[in-house]
């Protein structure tokens, strides 16, 4: 289980307050959808969760243990996949799996068995000895996903995992996420596709202007806002919280 308490991140360089106050609770064996408009602070929050960035203040707990900078133990239990992350194009999926498996200190037998399992599932086996840079976008994404999941992490953080993929690949990835959920993994999913949230997520967290404005089950989201659908609830929450900021801004300017 992951607990986020009053997380804040201000970038030193441009003094941008990307995350102002985010508090969330993400449980094991669930798919947690992180929603928010562009620039709300979702990616920064996920980067802090994945240990890529240090929070300015606030705390993150993994199973009650506070996340420290360069916490290798926690790092070996999580994975983070975004569209920005690519793999070295000169290598084949086989070579990449061996390399990343080695970085996670996996024994060779484990690497091989995981490779076979994941490559078979994502349909990469046939191309496992072909260079990564010769692959199509979808194949690259599937390979990245297989490599990210190679070390069998407990916590899986995905930033728009099905973005730009064809429907078949999307379904394949969605099915695998459900399989991981059944295995008791903790899955954090950032997406703009509300339909995907409705279909797959158990609980949802909404961030607007760097603040968490909702954290609860998908089912209770519309009711909590007095509307009928997730879309309506999201828009309502956004308008309320974004407008509030705009008013403060105007007041601030005199």
């Amino acid at each position: 289980m992951i607990t986020i308490e009053h997380l804040k991140k201000t970038f030193k360089k441009n003094k941008v307050e990307a995350v102002k106050d985010v508090s969330l609770e993400i449980r094991d064996g669930e798919i947690f959808a992180l929603l928010g408009p562009n620039g709300a602070g979702k990616t920064t929050t996920m980067r802090m969760l994945s240990t890529l960035l240090l929070p300015t203040s606030g705390k993150i707990f993994f199973d009650g243990k506070e996340l420290k900078p360069n916490d290798e133990q926690i790092r070996s239990r999580i994975t983070f996949l975004t569209n920005e992350i690519r793999l070295d194009g000169q290598f084949t999926p086989d070579e990449l799996a061996d390399y990343y498996g080695g970085l996670y200190e996996m024994p060779n037998e484990k690497i091989n068995s995981r490779k076979d399992e994941l490559f078979d599932y994502f349909g990469i086996s046939e191309f496992r000895n072909r260079r990564y840079d010769t692959f199509s976008t979808g194949m690259k994404q599937k390979t990245s996903l297989a490599i990210c999941l190679l070390h069998d992490p407990d916590t899986i953080i995905f930033d728009e995992p099905t973005n730009g993929l064809d429907i078949l690949t999307q379904q394949l990835i969605e099915a695998y996420l459900l399989k991981l959920k059944e295995q008791g993994k903790c899955i954090i999913l950032s997406t703009h596709i509300l339909d995907l949230v409705a279909r797959m997520a158990d609980r949802v967290g909404i961030i607007v202007d760097g603040k968490s404005v909702f954290c609860g089950t998908v089912a209770e989201l519309p009711g909590s806002q007095g509307v009928e659908t997730i879309d309506q609830a999201f828009i309502k929450l956004y308008k309320e919280n974004h407008e509030e900021k705009a008013i403060v801004g105007r007041h601030g300017n005199g």
Binding site: K12, L53, E72, E84, I85, R86, L87, G102
Partner: protein, 377 residues
């Protein structure tokens, strides 16, 4: 240092798989060998030394310079020197055609000359005759039966002279390709990875930052060292070809004699230098968005290092101890000292320690930078 070997191995494989890099830094120098040898064959063979006059230097004799005749249309001059003979004969003022007579010890006069040079050998004979005649007369005048016999003839080691040119050039020949190679490889290793989006996946792994940085530095160091070794090797090979083909040696290595120990010491310093440059390259690369930006950012470093190596080419005699503390310049000095067989233990130690201290300092800075937001966003 868990994972450093894996990072190193992966980086090396990456470089080997990148054929354009291999072509530019390993194969291209090999191809230039044939071109340079070809050009060399078209040039006329060197006819000897380009000196205006021949000199017979005297140490320990208070005389004013005067002309004693001519040889091959060139004037022969007698000159007085104040510098210590051992240092003077290794300086650039002393040419292959000259001789030096050391009169500091009247009991044993030493004549320095170049046995391989006809002019110098001829002047040596004249100097020896002059010394023997003069001192025999002086001794005979002092006491009956005494005679002056002790003239020591020192054929200056071939190495001291042929190595002088390469000692002047080697720092430049080594540092220029080294800095250029490192700028390229180091730029790609982190800034290139960042641009391609492959850096974050490694950052997310449980490999400690020190291992990640060291793995990258070691791979950049090794490939740059190999590449620079190829450049030097090509020059040595080129000299050998020129020597065998009896054409002008444009590579500068003909006749150079270096002991195994000296080669090992030069290699040791080259490794240290390589590590330091690679570390600097990786540090700069950390703050750049892509390989092109990193290469541009490394230009000042390359320029400063090249300038330092060029400055060392124009130094004469020995340098003060403090110069052995100036990074990069100090390694040029020690290369020259090693090749001119005048390296001092304390200077060698000073250079090694100063490079190590600097390298550790840069590594600490690199590790601190690795954790910074600018690198991670």
């Amino acid at each position: 240092m868990r994972g450093v070997g894996k990072i190193f191995h992966h980086e090396m494989k990456k470089i080997v798989k990148e054929k354009s890099l291999l072509f530019g830094f390993i194969l291209l120098p090999v191809l230039t060998l044939f071109v340079t040898v070809g050009i060399s064959m078209l040039q006329p063979k060197s006819t000897g030394e380009n000196v205006e006059t021949y000199s017979m230097f005297f140490y320990g004799l208070d005389i004013t310079s005067y002309n004693i005749g001519s040889l091959d249309d060139k004037q022969i001059w007698i000159k007085k020197i104040d510098a210590a003979p051992a240092d003077f004969v290794t300086s650039d003022e002393f040419h292959h055609s000259d001789v030096l007579v050391d009169l500091s010890n009247i009991e044993k006069v030493t004549i320095y000359y170049y046995g391989s040079n006809t002019i110098s050998s001829y002047l040596k004979m004249s100097a020896e005759a002059f010394v023997r005649e003069t001192f025999d007369m002086a001794f005979r005048g002092q006491s009956s039966g005494a005679s002056f016999r002790s003239v020591e003839l020192t054929d200056i080691n071939e190495k001291d002279t042929t190595n002088r040119m390469i000692a002047m050039l080697l720092p430049y020949m080594l540092i220029l390709p080294l800095t250029a190679n490192i700028a390229n490889f180091a730029s790609d290793t982190i800034a290139g990875d960042k641009a391609r989006g492959t850096f974050y996946q490694v950052m997310l792994s449980p490999v400690p930052p020190l291992s990640l940085i060291m793995g990258k530095i070691f791979s950049v160091s090794l490939i740059s060292l190999v590449s620079s070794g190829v450049y030097i090797g090509i020059d040595v090979l080129g000299s050998k070809i020129c020597e065998a083909a009896n054409v002008k040696d444009v590579f500068g290595f003909a006749g150079v004699s270096v002991s195994v120990g000296e080669i090992l010491l030069i290699l040791l310093y080259a490794v240290l230098l390589c590590y330091l440059f690679s570390n600097l390259g990786v540090l700069i690369s950390l703050f750049c968005k892509d390989a092109n930006q990193a290469q541009t950012a490394q230009i000042p470093v390359t320029l400063v290092c090249t300038l330092a190596s060029m400055m060392s080419m124009f130094r004469f005699g020995t340098s003060p101890s403090s110069h052995y503390l100036i990074p990069v310049y100090n390694i040029c000095l020690i290369f020259q000292d090693l090749l001119n067989a005048r390296a001092k233990m304390e200077n060698m130690a000073m250079v090694a320690i100063s490079l190590l201290v600097l390298a550790v300092g840069v590594l600490i800075l690199t590790l601190a930078s690795y954790k910074s937001e600018k690198v991670r966003t």
